[in-house]
Assembly symmetry: C2
Homo-oligomer: 307 residues x 2
């Protein structure tokens, strides 16, 4: 079955040896390989009535490919461990494979290995490998007081889509599809590294939570300005319809896998990024993330954007 998932596919040049032997071999041109793993479990991370098998495969790939991009690296390959009920149709497994391949191919990576076994629910464990192409990795620990904070990619769309699905709706399609399938700005990771990014992380748990990792690792305080965030009309509309503040989705929603990075004040972020705040030395309370000068309490409300 793994053979059907991985054969008859065009492997990229970085695949020295594809699937079919005990192990695969992947090029790691500069003598280092970037590697990360993410697990998606049916009923925890996805529902088969909300997402197609192909979307699940793409999402599992995206979560890992974004982690590679957030190091400033370029993904080279994926390996997948699949557990699924024995009654799972072969077509569903092939669609998962299609999804993994679609997302990997979009960034020039291949699916080089895997393992398929039975299990009580569908579990998709993906490992992504990547190349730094000779660059130094952009870590969470490099932010310095004075740096500018910038984001790239969608924020809050997946959370808004989940809110819509959770209330039994299937539209707006743009938001629901954003939950089903993130669109991380993969190429912006290496671009940010080239532009001198001092720290970077992908937004998987929510912007404030993930910037909290940067703040603690760098021993800094990140100060965000809420007015710097653009609220897309679709987010504003559905927030109004559901009586929810879209800023909460933007600041705390996960799974969009946007990138957030810090850049030296002199240069700032490259084009395509939106500046949303600054890095300062931590105050007596230690590293923190603030919104408009305060810890975010989520009570700003919709009116926050009305003025």
């Amino acid at each position: 079955m793994i053979g059907r998932i991985t054969t008859d596919r065009a492997q990229p040049d970085t695949t020295v040896l594809g699937p079919g032997d005990d192990s695969a071999i992947v090029a790691a041109a500069d003598g280092r390989v970037v590697a990360c793993t993410d697990v998606l479990v049916e009923g925890v991370h996805f529902r088969l009535d909300w997402s197609t098998p192909e979307q699940i495969g793409r999402k599992a790939a995206a979560a890992n490919l974004a982690d590679v991009a957030a190091m400033g690296a370029v993904p080279t390959s994926l390996l997948v461990g699949l557990a699924c009920p024995s009654a799972t149709p072969a077509a569903a497994l092939e669609q998962i494979a299609d999804g993994l391949w679609a997302e990997a191919s979009a960034v020039g990576a291949g699916l080089v290995g895997g393992d398929l076994t039975s299990g009580p629910v569908l579990v998709v464990s993906v490992t992504a490998l990547g190349s730094l192409q000779g660059r130094e990795p952009v870590l969470r620990s490099g932010a310095r007081p004075g740096d500018r904070v910038a984001v790239c990619g969608r924020l809050g769309w997946s959370a808004a889509g989940l809110a819509v699905l959770g209330r039994g709706f299937r539209s707006p399609a743009a938001l629901v599809n954003a939950h089903r399938l993130p669109e991380p700005p993969y190429a912006e990771g290496p671009a940010a590294a080239l532009a001198g990014a001092t720290a970077m992380i992908d937004v998987s748990d929510g912007l404030l939570a993930d910037l909290g990792h940067v703040a603690r690792a760098s021993t800094v305080t990140v100060r965000l300005r809420s007015r710097a965030f653009t609220v897309a009309p679709r987010l504003a509309e559905i927030g109004s319809a559901l009586g929810l503040d879209p800023l909460r989705w933007i600041l705390t929603g996960g799974e969009d896998h946007a990138l957030v990075a810090t850049f030296p004040a002199e240069t700032g972020p490259p084009g395509g990024w939106t500046e949303v705040g600054v890095v300062e030395a931590p105050d007596d309370g230690g590293p923190a993330v603030t919104v408009d000068g305060r810890p975010y309490d989520g009570d700003a409300g919709w009116s926050h954007f009305a003025g």
Copy 2:
């Protein structure tokens, strides 16, 4: 929790960047990295009443580390994706981590990344990375007529242990423990590569099944001599006690992760390996594996070893 699994551990020199950022970075000195993935599912691959969490961790690591060794490579690192019921004690997870670390450390590798999530049963998905150290990989497809076939490591012990456990016994301990914890001859993989091995595979599904992969990939017939296999006294005893032929365990039992390789006739295998057969051109029926000149039907019986 993943932090507790991976922090305060001594990483090997090959770990350029350990856990804690978006991705890990592992040395790949010769510009290539060997990579493989294996998934173990509770109730399918292990039972929590038959194995300790540490044994499960070690076994999950061993299955992958053996795949790296079977390429002639040296393992450098593991990444682990864990799904487990939310009621799983933290101590059990730490013991799984202990097991992963114990097996990895034994071969000089580190645990560099992971992901932990909830799920209905325990699922352990491990990815191993390795270094070829400038050597060419030993593939399944390299066996040539005239080569000698040799094995290294235990064969049939895990299957015998499983037979014992399945009948409700807990001894002989040596066999039961062999099922709980394989002991692949990791170092013999690179040693075989240096000795000129033409093809190699680790025995995960059973010697005949795995040599079948070699035969098909190499388009050859592998002819084994049953008398070349040493039947350990413990295997003979328990075979006699259960009324089963230990040769069946040796030829068809999986999960011991012994290595089987083919070597040029001129040189043969290095010390520590046991010659068990030869490689020939396939006959009209195509690539095959034979035992004493015939397809193995499992009916040779205990008396086979009596003469």
